[in-house]
């Protein structure tokens, strides 16, 4: 199936896709374990989602609908260009609506809308090894994973509490998957960690530069690490979204001027637009023209 671009379907050649799929299957079979794979050069720089793109390219079919988010937003450069990449090379339908997507490739967020069992969430991962900053040797970290020697991870959390009085890690917060492997959930905010637990959607993680793929199969136990007397806490916001008045969502801080004015708005742009279309109005929306209130791309 050759698209007009002259590339194979979804850019990667079939042999490469089979190789990536094998890694994905192995990752699903051992939840949280980092499976090495022969990561390819992609037509984008490392750090822009080369791992996620390879995973998506390997699992996408012509009947899939793709959504790409970058820090929760569908409309940033990274999200737009990856969406266009697959429109061009795989000729698939794309969407910004979370419930319409069958594959969601994400950089650093999990959508606010609960995912279903028919969806796959693909994470772009910069540094897959949660123990990396404490133990620089790959040979040693592999051994630590193999022997389940995870005391080191708590050393990091201990240091946090000793220095800040609480666990100050707010993103890339380590989790234990299926009571076995300790995993870095990529730099998602810890706000999203509870959503990983027992999720009906398959979660795949691709790290292109580090050449690792790992996975959380559907309905798998994912526990954020903590201490008995300093339990894991989800990030709390003291105000609702300034645009759609949503509570209990992850907010981005937007600096508005030099006078210290700030806007806290939903990081999930699809969620925010949907709520505005439903008539929810945040304090900062004021008397904005109606076309902004429910604006869809």
């Amino acid at each position: 199936m050759t698209i007009s671009t002259g590339y194979n379907f979804a850019y990667l050649d079939e042999q490469t896709k089979r190789m990536v799929r094998r890694a994905i299957l192995k990752a699903i079979a051992t939840p949280g374990y980092q499976v090495p794979f022969a990561s390819r050069e992609m037509p984008m720089p490392y750090g822009w989602g080369t791992g996620g793109v390879q995973v998506t390219a390997s699992i996408i079919g012509s009947d899939d609908t793709l959504k790409v988010i970058d820090q929760g937003a569908d409309d940033t450069t990274n999200a737009v260009s990856i969406r266009k990449f697959f429109e061009k090379t795989a000729d698939v339908a794309t969407t910004t609506a979370t419930e319409d997507a069958t594959i969601i490739q994400t950089r650093h967020r999990i959508p606010e809308m609960p995912l279903s069992k028919d969806q796959v969430l693909v994470y772009q991962v910069p540094i897959p090894e949660p123990l990396r900053f404490l133990e620089p040797r790959e040979t040693e970290t592999r051994k630590l994973h193999a022997l389940e020697e995870y005391g080191l991870m708590h050393v990091k959390l201990y240091e946090d509490i000793a220095r800040h009085g609480h666990i100050a890690t707010t993103y890339a917060y380590p989790v234990r998957v299926d009571d076995r492997y300790i995993m870095d959930p990529s730099p998602t905010p810890k706000f999203d960690n509870p959503k990983m637990d027992n999720s009906p959607a398959l979660q795949l993680f691709g790290a292109g530069r580090e050449k690792r793929i790992y996975a959380i199969p559907p309905y798998t136990k994912v526990v954020s690490l903590d201490f008995e007397d300093h339990p894991f806490e989800r990030t709390q916001f003291d105000q609702p979204c300034g645009l759609c008045a949503a509570e209990d969502v992850y907010l981005d801080e937007v600096v508005l001027d030099n006078e210290g004015h700030r806007l806290f708005a939903c990081s999930d742009s699809d969620h925010c637009e949907r709520r505005r279309a439903e008539g929810h109005r945040g304090a900062m929306l004021g008397d904005a023209p109606s076309y902004i209130e429910g604006e869809k791309q």
């Binding site: 051994k143 005391g151 201990y158 240091e159 509490i161 000793a162």
Partner: protein
């Protein structure tokens, strides 16, 4: 399966030891050695590290291995602590459950559990034994967290208590070892090893590189802790004074072989081998 074995083995021994507190030695009869080496030989190609070394270490005993540089004492220590594989020979350790096991027949998981629970290793250079980029408290607490402690308050309490025992002020608990003097680092390393109530501690020239007054304090401290905790210690040193102060028995090595062994005072006061006589007489008298 073997992994499970390793964990079970550790759980059982640790639980028992915790129940009986520091009387851990009480349930051990002393008619069996804690560690037993049999004809240990380690060669590096054509050159020899140590040759045909046999000895026993008993519970609560401090054994000093002395000799000049290159005599094979550090090689021997590294073999005993399973960091080097011997060319031939057998090393048996009496596990918490009382069973004598060949340490090189333990699988890697079991061996590593042993290394961070029942054993300790004090390096000559504290930078090798410490995590230099985390605080003193975390350094001491690491072993506790490694064996499953998950209560911050209690881990910190234990760290603070151990810092006190090695005479480090409590207000230094959040400082990194980089900010510590050499003597303090060495004391921190000792606390980090002893926090898990080990039964056997290996020490490689623990006073090397420290000035004399700091050495004296450290030796005093180690001597106190060893007798208080009933530790077995195998200490490698080239300094006969250290051996005299700390050890019950002494093993003199030369060219990889043990030339003389016996009670420390006996060997140092009345050495029978010419080499030992030479060694003892070459100590400067002040």
């Amino acid at each position: 399966m073997t992994r499970v074995d390793g964990v079970a083995l550790f759980d059982g021994s640790h639980a028992r030891r915790r129940d009986s507190g520091r009387s851990a030695l009480a349930h051990l009869t002393t008619d069996l050695p804690l560690l037993s080496g049999e004809a240990i030989t380690k060669s590096y190609g054509d050159r020899v590290g140590c040759v045909d070394v046999s000895f026993d270490v008993w519970p609560g005993e401090v054994l000093a291995i002395v000799g000049e540089s290159g005599s094979g004492k550090t090689t021997l220590l590294n073999v005993l602590s399973t960091q080097l594989t011997p060319t031939s020979g057998v090393i048996r350790y009496r596990m918490g459950c009382g069973e004598m096991r060949d340490v090189f027949e333990l699988n890697e998981a079991e061996r590593r559990i042993l290394m961070r629970t029942e054993w300790g290793f004090v390096h000559q250079d504290p930078r090798e034994g410490l995590r230099m980029n985390v605080s003193a408290g975390a350094n001491v607490g690491e072993r506790l967290m490694a064996i499953g402690a998950r209560n911050y308050g209690r881990i910190r309490g234990a760290a603070s208590e151990w810092l006190g025992r090695v005479e480090i002020d409590d207000d230094r608990i959040d400082d990194k070892p980089r900010a510590f003097s050499g003597g303090m680092r060495q004391r921190l390393q000792i606390a980090r090893n002893l926090v898990s109530n080990p039964r056997l501690v290996f020490m490689d020239e623990p006073t090397g590189g420290l000035d004399v007054s700091v050495q004296a304090r450290l030796l005093d401290l180690v001597r106190g802790l060893v007798s208080e905790l009933g530790l077995s210690v195998i200490i490698v040193t080239h300094d006969l004074a250290v051996a005299r102060l700390l050890s019950h028995r002494i093993m003199v090595m030369r060219g990889g072989r043990v030339v003389e062994t016996g009670l420390t005072d006996q060997v140092l006061d009345d050495p029978s081998e010419p080499y030992t006589q030479l060694l003892v007489s070459s100590v400067l008298q002040v």
